[in-house]
């Protein structure tokens, strides 16, 4: 039911019956494995306009045109191909524009940021395919595939987001978010419980507090733009039972003795990481404590961290000792607590996500002779045979890693950072507006509105708070109730 409402304006926007959004989205859309080129793809009503702003000219639809990509000051960011596919004859069925650049991940990230500053919104995982499907560009059979894609893409993004938030930065964001929440608890309590004896802040104090948060947000934005947020590229975790040669493999990959290699099981009791550039891709390898059942408190702590690393990893390199008799893969995984083999969990997303990230390595091939193929397939999982001692087969492993990881994975980390910056910016804008409402209009209810908006932007990073949870905070902070 709709009502007449004299306050409401009718929106000039296109209304799609599909329920999806109708704004213009942008993302880095480079196919996996193509290390050299990066593509920024735009889809939506504004795609052409944004393209024109970046390359400074109109181009013929469906023809690749060589162009310079400019930032807002007119400085050249990169030079590459620009393409425009008008609706409905495009991949998504909407206007689609593409910028193909050569400048590497950092430049592509800047190009994406340029598109966002011209009004595009960062695409959600799987959103292009989703739009394509709703515009009847994909058939029914492909719907399942898109559902899968959305799943795995959002899992990737969530991992990258969790990782980019580790350490200092996360502490700072949490602190700001907490301050915003506390201020909101005050303001909302004073609105919903005006008759209670709450020691309310005066309007001056409220705006002072908000001003302080604004300064903190600004600092946070500066440091995140400088790249503090994104410390590492993609993350590969080397895991397995003790003594299978995990540390040896790390050393082999990074080329020097970073991890201590010993013949005693359980030497690596904490996670060690090492970042290197493999064929132009920044990659972090993480060596972990060996997984097994134990009662040793220190070792258990190490194993706990290994599991945490595995959760955050883009790929998991599972090392097994080929010179000894191993149990079947599934049994071993279950024994190491990596998968849950109970029937009800066989189909869960976690499990397929785990297998999707798994890379199997048989180590110590030197001990059983060189006459095995370097890559074999067991089940539908490929296994790479290596010797961390002699270095045999390690080049195959590197090749496989680059294939699997490609450029796409790389950009997931950048998008995560981009998303955080967008959210922080949103929070900042809302707060500044709110403060001006409070100072010039003495409009507490409008300030509350902007504060809520800022809180929601933080929620995009840290998880949202429902109105009921907010009420809960109010009731535990103040003695309320007649």
């Amino acid at each position: 039911m709709t009502s007449v409402n004299s306050d409401r304006t009718t929106s000039g926007k296109l209304k799609y019956a599909s329920g999806i959004e109708t704004d213009t989205i942008a993302a880095i859309a480079t196919p996996a494995g193509k290390g050299g080129i990066g593509i920024v793809r735009l889809s939506g009503p504004e795609a052409q306009n944004i393209l024109v702003k970046i390359i400074g000219k109109k181009i013929t639809p469906r023809y690749a045109t060589l162009a310079s990509f400019l930032d807002q000051q007119g400085e050249k960011l990169d030079r590459g191909l620009a393409l425009f596919f008008p609706a409905p004859h495009s991949f998504t069925g909407e206007h689609v524009a593409e910028l193909h650049g050569h400048g590497g991940p950092v430049i592509i990230d800047l190009l994406l940021s340029e598109c966002l500053s011209h009004g595009a919104r960062l695409a959600k995982p799987g959103e292009y395919s989703e739009r394509a499907y709703h515009n009847n560009k994909l058939d029914l059979v492909q719907a399942e595939a898109i559902a899968d894609l959305i799943n795995s893409a959002s899992a990737n993004a969530a991992r990258a987001a969790a990782r980019s938030l580790s350490g200092d930065f996360s502490i700072q964001i949490n602190k700001v978010a907490e301050e915003i929440k506390n201020l909101r608890v005050y303001v909302e309590a004073s609105i919903d419980f005006p008759e209670e004896e709450i020691d309310f802040l005066t309007e001056g104090q409220v705006s002072q507090k908000a001003q302080k948060i604004v300064s903190e947000l600004k600092l946070l934005l500066i440091s995140s733009e400088q790249g503090v947020l994104l410390r590492d590229g993609i993350r590969l975790v080397i895991a397995g039972k003790p003594n299978v040669g995990k540390s040896s493999l790390l050393n082999c990959l990074v080329g020097f003795d970073r991890a201590i290699v010993t013949a005693h099981a359980g030497t690596t009791r904490d996670s060690l990481s090492e970042s290197i550039t493999l064929k132009g891709l920044p990659i972090t390898f993480v060596d972990t404590a060996g997984l097994r059942t134990t009662n040793d408190v220190v070792e258990l702590e190490g194993i706990k961290r290994t599991h945490e690393e595995i959760k955050k990893a883009d790929r998991i390199i599972l090392v097994r000792d080929a010179s000894i008799k191993n149990r079947a893969l599934e049994e071993e995984l279950e024994e190491l607590n990596l998968i849950d083999n109970s029937d009800e969990n066989k189909k869960t997303n976690d499990r397929s996500d785990f297998f999707g990230r798994l890379l199997l390595v048989n180590n110590k091939m030197d001990l059983i002779g060189e006459n095995l193929p370097t890559i074999n397939i067991s089940g539908n999982q490929s296994v790479i045979n290596i010797s961390a001692l002699t270095g045999a087969g390690v080049d195959n492993l590197v090749e496989e890693i680059i294939q699997l990881v490609g450029y796409q994975q790389q950009t997931v980390g950048f998008s995560a950072r981009r998303r955080h910056i967008e959210s922080l910016n949103g929070a900042l804008t809302a707060l500044e507006l709110g403060i001006s409402q409070l100072n010039t209009m003495a409009a507490g209810e409008l300030f509350a509105e902007d504060l809520k908006c800022a809180h929601m932007h933080c929620g995009d990073i840290l998880g949202h708070m429902s109105s009921d949870e907010l009420l809960g905070e109010i009731f535990s902070s103040f003695c309320i109730g007649k």
Binding site: M1, S6, R8, E130, A147, T440, G481
Partner: protein
């Protein structure tokens, strides 16, 4: 031989939900019968006689916009009126009234007795007639069969009521109503999920034993607000003073010493009480650093000496109640007329309802009010109106309705209940409404009256007044937009004199009204068209909120689009890959009718919504 009667709609229960339900149903033209255990208790305020307050007066104004009676009755029975949040902006402003209990009840009774198409009948309902999952009517104690197409159950806390005073407890409903056991038993056999809540009341006090000279006075507001859009202060009876006093260290000592005799702290009560309305023993324990707690002393009426000391609900034993009351300033010699008590009761999980308040398991059966886990007259009445109007629509074979979250607090209420359920007595707060700036008490008519008219709920009288008001608002807005003020002219000087604002470039009055220093009274003085005085404030509020409302519009548009995506009931959530187990189960349980409603379920992510959208489209494409 049993008697047979035929109606379109039967309403069981004559509380705030039941009366609004019966009146709404009858207003649409459905032949309606309200069956109450006791006609004398129709319209009874079983707790303190106050109507409105933050979030609640918003509901009352919405009921009024749909031509319900709560606001009208409040204007005829209110003995103390206040505007809350007067300085915090119109969106969060609220009206609160203290009513004379008798006058309120009489007024409601009058409305019920004078309503066309509505009959009253005093009997205990003992059974529901259900055939193949469809309700067909009810049976009363005397074996009278009432046939009906829809039945609305509004029986409050009567289910499994257990009253606690100290360690004593006895079964019962509120305010001395006997529990209706056979119907309760019958309902329990149906597949509804039942859970338990608790709430409390303070001891009532005899005004003649109170020393008012010791108390802080709290007068009503001047100018005095009215509750109904059609109300006027001439309708108000004589006004009374309210008072405020405080607990103190002695009060708190007594409470602490006797905690083990409190059923709340000894573990005797297991229902969940409201977080926003803790008992005095709760407050003393949880906020131990506070040396006093405020008590609002509210008169129960013009012709009674009973007072309602709001803020000290308790279930401590009677002797402790006397002791603690007498430590309070002004209450040194107070006589308790009724001891305070805690009551535990059953409610039906509102997630078993549709948005129309029709139950999911029994077609044609509707639930409204406290039975759905809410608290408060206003929350009950609003649900009653919705359930009653839908019961009538159902009987007439018409599509059912409910307002959305961006249209009414009633929409927020229903959506929260049906989507999230509740584990404490649900009360409305403005912070529950994400579109708070739109859902104001000053514009409930603009939001709902036309809708109500289309549903047949709104009388000609109200409709004409409403149309006239909207016309005036539009005319005035137009007039102000065309009223140019040119720098340097006499008019600009006059504007400067009235507002103290010096304009530096040519403008019009509507634009100037956006400025913080300029208000409706200023511009009304300038245009000098007294005809429009009453709508000046409306125009001011609309123009001042315009920017924010535009911003919210984008959000509303998105909900609009998502509301159009129907999620087919055959969607198999449990088999859907890519959702967490918890979310799968929630979705499978709630079975949200549209994508927008799925979006309101806690824990849902944008990715999960995309999945639902794709699966929904897949089913549609296949058929």
């Amino acid at each position: 031989m049993s008697d047979q009667q035929y109606y379109d709609v039967i309403i069981i229960g004559g509380g705030h939900a039941g009366t609004e339900a019966a009146l709404a149903s009858a207003r649409t033209g459905a032949s309606t019968c309200l069956i109450s255990q006791n006609i004398e208790t129709i319209g009874q305020m079983s707790c303190n006689p106050a109507i409105g307050g933050i979030g609640k007066s918003h509901l009352v104004k919405e009921i009024d916009a749909l031509d319900g009676v709560m606001a009208k009755a409040t204007d005829r029975a209110g003995i103390h009126f206040r505007v809350l949040n007067a300085r915090k902006g119109p969106a969060v402003r609220a009206t609160r009234a203290q009513a004379d209990r008798q006058l309120y009840k009489q007024t409601i009774r009058g409305f019920v007795e004078n309503q066309d198409n509505l009959k009253l009948f005093q009997q205990t309902v003992v059974d529901l007639l259900i055939v193949n999952g469809v309700v067909k009517g009810v049976k009363t104690q005397l074996d009278v069969i009432f046939h009906a197409n829809s039945v609305v159950l509004t029986t409050g806390t009567f289910l499994g009521g257990l009253i606690h005073i100290g360690m004593e407890s006895h079964t019962g409903g509120r305010a001395g109503d006997p529990p209706s056991n056979s119907l309760a038993k019958r309902l329990r056999e149906l597949p509804f999920r039942v859970d338990r809540l608790k709430t409390g009341t303070p001891p009532r006090i005899d005004a003649r034993s109170v020393d008012f000279s010791q108390l802080e006075e709290q007068p009503g507001d001047n100018p005095r607000p009215v509750m109904s859009y059609l109300g006027s202060i001439e309708q108000h009876p004589e006004q009374r003073m309210c008072h405020i006093t405080y607990t103190n260290a002695d009060t708190h000592d007594i409470i602490r010493k006797n905690l083990k005799r409190s059923p709340l702290f000894s573990g005797k009560i297991d229902g969940t009480g409201p977080r926003y309305c803790p008992s005095i023993e709760d407050k003393v324990v949880r906020f131990a650093d506070r040396d006093q707690h405020q008590i609002f002393i509210e008169p129960e009426g013009l012709n009674t000496q009973e007072l309602y000391p709001n803020g000290i609900s308790t279930s401590l034993p009677y002797d402790v109640q006397i002791a603690l009351i007498r430590t309070i300033k002004g209450f040194e010699n107070a006589h308790i007329t009724r001891p305070g008590y805690a009551i535990e009761y059953d409610y039906f999980d509102p997630r078993d309802l549709n948005f129309s308040l029709e139950t999911r398991f029994i077609e044609g059966l509707f639930f409204a009010g406290q039975i759905n886990g809410t608290t408060g007259y206003e929350e009950a009445a609003a649900q009653g109106l919705l359930a009653g109007s839908n019961a009538a629509l159902k009987a007439a074979g018409k599509p059912l309705w409910h307002p959305r979250r961006d249209e009414a607090y009633l929409g927020v209420l229903v959506d929260d209940l049906v989507n999230q359920g509740t584990n404490e007595p649900y009360r409305m707060f403005t912070s529950r409404a994400e579109f708070r700036l739109l859902l104001r008490q000053d514009n409930a008519d603009a939001r709902l009256t036309q809708m109500g008219r289309e549903l047949g709920l709104v009388s000609n009288v109200r409709w004409d007044i409403f149309c006239e008001k909207q016309k005036k608002i539009n005319e005035l807005t137009q007039m102000l937009a065309e009223f140019k003020i040119i720098v340097g002219t006499d008019l600009a000087n006059k504007f400067n004199k009235i507002t103290d604002v010096k304009i530096s470039k040519d403008s019009d009055l509507l634009t100037l009204l956006k400025r913080p220093e300029v208000n409706a009274q200023h511009v009304m003085k300038l245009i000098d068209s007294p005809d429009y005085n009453l709508v000046g404030e409306q125009v001011e509020i609309q123009i001042k909120y315009q920017g924010y409302i535009k911003r919210q519009q984008a959000e509303i548009d998105k909900i609009d689009r998502q509301e159009q995506v129907v999620l087919p009931p055959e969607l198999d959530y449990l088999a859907m890959e890519g959702l967490s187990n918890e979310l799968r189960e929630k979705l499978a349980y709630v079975k949200p009718p549209t994508l927008a409603k799925a979006g309101r379920i806690q824990g849902i992510t944008p990715a999960a919504l995309s999945l639902l959208l794709i699966h929904a489209k897949k089913i549609r494409d296949m058929s």
